[in-house]
């Protein structure tokens, strides 16, 4: 039993989940309407696009890299689909397929620059980000594209079995895919590569391929997010995803995914993402004065970051102390 508790204590995702729980409880107490079915579902639904990006960034981070272009890739996908829906006669499945191809293509571009051409991941995606955003602005300078089909809108907003909005189901699918991927030989290699690239390479893992795949998966997450976003806002908006990239990185850090890679899992990232979404709601429930809202938002974000990191450092400290104690006992 003690072993089990110790194990949970070491779980890198724990701080993020704890933070999320605290904020949920706080919010629920101040505003019981938050947990009403329709409100909570809309909260989940409107957070879903960003959370998709969080999952994508989480994957890239575990490989020891990062991706800050996924938010703008999502915007590009959303804008392209909305544009095609309203200005062309293509069938809906074709348009959605095009969206998928854009997502995979963007992810592939990132992956090639990072995995094959060995450009620093932060800088590579720092460069591809304006490429995607610029394309999105070029295609649709103003939000518009009102031709999104009713079926897509209602599909995204629908609730299955009375309890599960489709959007959340999309998240669940991504998470399941992620778990399957990680358990597979490709996935395990990701952790190895993230932890130590040299030794992973030496032990025969195809580092370049794993990195490319990780970023393509990120692109796929952007596609899912873009599809949900299109159904959610029923139009195209070139700026819808601009804020998502940096927020996602913050969420992933809070979620305990180490910057150096090789550690952490998707649950912490999810918790971190929802934590960030809930902050802005909590600010409403707390009736923070308007001009202080910005400051409050970032303060809490920073507190969350510090907490998550400090807890992790603390855990490491206790672990090394316990190891020292063990080795001393062994010697005696």
């Amino acid at each position: 039993m003690k072993e089990k508790i110790k194990k949970i204590g070491k779980w890198p995702s724990l701080p993020a989940i704890a933070l999320l729980a605290i904020l949920f409880v706080y919010n629920g107490v101040l505003n019981p309407g938050f947990f009403k079915k329709s409100t909570f579902f809309t909260f989940l639904l409107s957070s879903t696009p960003m959370i998709c990006i969080v999952i994508g960034v989480c994957t890239c981070k575990i490989v020891g890299g990062i991706d800050i272009s996924l938010g703008n890739l999502l915007s590009l996908i959303n804008v392209t689909m909305a544009y095609l829906f309203s200005s062309s006669d293509m069938a809906a499945p074709v348009i959605i397929l095009i969206g998928l191809l854009i997502g995979l293509g963007g992810g592939l571009l990132n992956g090639i620059c990072i995995g094959v051409l060995r450009v620093n991941p932060l800088l590579a995606t720092f460069a591809t980000s304006p490429v995607y955003w610029g394309l999105a602005l070029w295609i649709m300078p103003t939000p518009g594209g009102y031709g999104v089909p009713r079926e897509l809108i209602s599909f995204v907003n629908k609730t299955h079995f009375g309890v599960l909005p489709t959007a959340v189901a999309a998240l669940a699918i991504l998470v399941i895919l992620w778990l399957l991927y990680m358990k597979s030989i490709y996935g395990i290699s990701i952790y190895g590569i993230g932890g130590n690239e040299q030794s992973a390479y030496v032990s025969g893992m195809n580092v370049a391929r794993s990195k490319v795949l990780a970023h393509v998966f990120g692109g796929f997450c952007a596609f899912v997010g873009g599809l949900v976003a299109t159904g959610l806002i029923a139009s195209g908006d070139p700026n819808i995803g601009t804020e998502f990239s940096l927020k996602a990185v913050t969420a992933v850090v809070i979620g305990g995914v180490a910057l150096s890679g090789g550690e952490g899992d998707v649950w912490g990232a999810l918790a971190g993402g929802f934590f960030l979404s809930t902050i802005l709601i909590a600010i409403i429930s707390s009736k923070v004065p308007t001009f202080a809202q910005n400051f409050a938002n970032y303060s809490i974000m920073l507190c969350g970051l510090v907490l998550a990191v400090v807890i992790k450092l603390g855990a490491e400290y206790y672990r090394t102390r316990a190891k020292k104690k063990q080795s001393e006992e062994v010697r005696q």
Binding site: S38, T39, I153, P289, T290
Partner: protein, 391 residues
């Protein structure tokens, strides 16, 4: 030690949220002072004379115009709170993220609102919010930035009359056949699209030649860059059409180039007026795109909730979709010319306009910061007079 730090930080976080929140809007839910039957969904609304719960969702507050919008709004709300008309009022900022705005609006609707005023981050993202509001019987007003949703109202500044006023004055100073340049606003903004359309049609009407055009994004530095570029490319510019928060950029560009400034039109921000006062007899016009549109929106919402009826034919076509007639557009409230005068034929079309002379304006707003925009909030009486039938 580290564990203690964690616990302290957690507690601090929670406390700071609670503490920050204490000040505004924490009045206990005041008992309804009027006929307080809660509004039924989808149709007939009961009227209330007081105890209203209203919220305003704004895309972001990070610039002077927006912050003035909020300041004027909060002032007007305080006045309503003082006489009990409004029981709870809140302004919420979405930090430029449209999905956050959706989430916030829903959270506020869940608390139960009589009216929700929205200054949208993006006009196309609010369909689900409007649906939810309708189900709950909450009145939805799109404030400042128009959007197209059945069953809502738009209270916006009249972009066409704002631009026309500047252009008409401009026409009295810049003859037909002149070469002019146009520094526009934000590409992709609904209001700016309307302004651009008006400028293009006026250019044809008054016979000017537009030799250059670029988006100034209502940013002085950007305007300065653009104007410098124009000055290099076009040797003879006879007039510059620009907008609020761009005049100084244009002026600096001319100063750095060592060229005399031709007629420039459109900016009323206080720092422009102050710069203008150093320019002796130079003539320009400042027209205000009113941040206090928020106040007009608030009056509109309160009056509707209180059961006032709209006058016939007061609603206009939505700027974004002419088939939806749900908009009231407010003309610019303040214009500033060097002598406080405008030609009669212009004044006749703008009955609610206050025209100030440059020196009058400088004196009136001497205590305000450079970024302040001379503005006038619509009063409740004017709102009734303009839009509603007397009760």
């Amino acid at each position: 030690m580290k564990r203690l730090l964690c616990i302290v930080l957690c507690v601090l976080m929670v406390l700071s949220l609670a503490a920050c929140g204490g000040e505004s809007g924490s009045d206990a839910k005041a008992p309804d002072t009027g006929e307080a039957a809660p509004a039924q969904g989808g149709g007939e609304k009961e009227t209330k004379t007081g105890g209203l719960k209203i919220a305003y969702s704004i895309g972001y507050v990070g610039n002077a115009w927006r912050s003035q919008l909020v300041s004027s709004l909060e002032e007007a709300a305080e006045a309503y709170k003082a006489d009990g008309t409004i029981a709870e009022f809140q302004v919420v900022s979405a930090d430029n993220d449209s999905t956050t705005q959706i989430s916030q609006c829903n959270a506020m609707l869940a608390e139960g609102l009589d009216a929700l005023l929205i200054c949208a981050v993006s006009p196309t993202t609010l369909a689900s919010v409007v649906e939810t509001a309708k189900e709950m019987g909450t009145l939805v007003i799109l404030s400042n930035d128009p959007a197209v949703y059945e069953g809502t109202y738009c209270v916006v500044n009249n972009a066409v009359s704002y631009t026309s006023l500047i252009n008409r004055w401009f026409a009295t100073k810049v003859p037909s056949g002149s070469d002019i340049v146009y520094i526009s606003g934000n590409p992709g903004n609904a209001t700016d699209m309307l302004r651009d359309e008006t400028v293009y049609s006026d250019i044809e009407k008054y016979g000017w030649n537009m030799i250059g055009e670029a988006p100034g994004k209502r940013n002085q530095a950007e305007a300065q860059t653009i104007m410098t570029s124009f000055l290099s490319t076009y040797p003879n510019i006879e007039g510059v059409l620009c907008q609020n928060t761009t005049f100084e950029g244009v002026a600096h560009a001319y100063e750095n180039a060592g060229k005399p400034m031709p007629v420039v039109g459109g900016d009323s921000v206080l720092s422009t007026l102050r710069l203008w006062s150093t320019m002796e007899d130079y003539e320009t016009i400042g027209v205000t795109n009113s941040p206090a549109i928020s106040v007009a929106s608030l009056h509109f919402a309160v009056l509707m909730l209180q059961g006032y009826e709209l006058r016939d034919n007061v609603l206009e076509a939505n700027p974004l979709d002419a088939s939806l007639v749900n908009t009231v557009a407010v003309d610019p409230p303040v214009a500033i010319t060097i002598d406080g005068k405008l030609p009669e034929d212009i004044l006749v079309d703008y009955p609610l306009l206050t025209v100030l002379s440059r020196d009058e304006a400088l004196e009136k707003y001497a205590d305000q910061e450079d970024t302040y925009i001379p503005d006038a909030s619509m009063s409740r009486e004017d709102a009734i007079k303009t839009w509603f039938k007397e009760k």
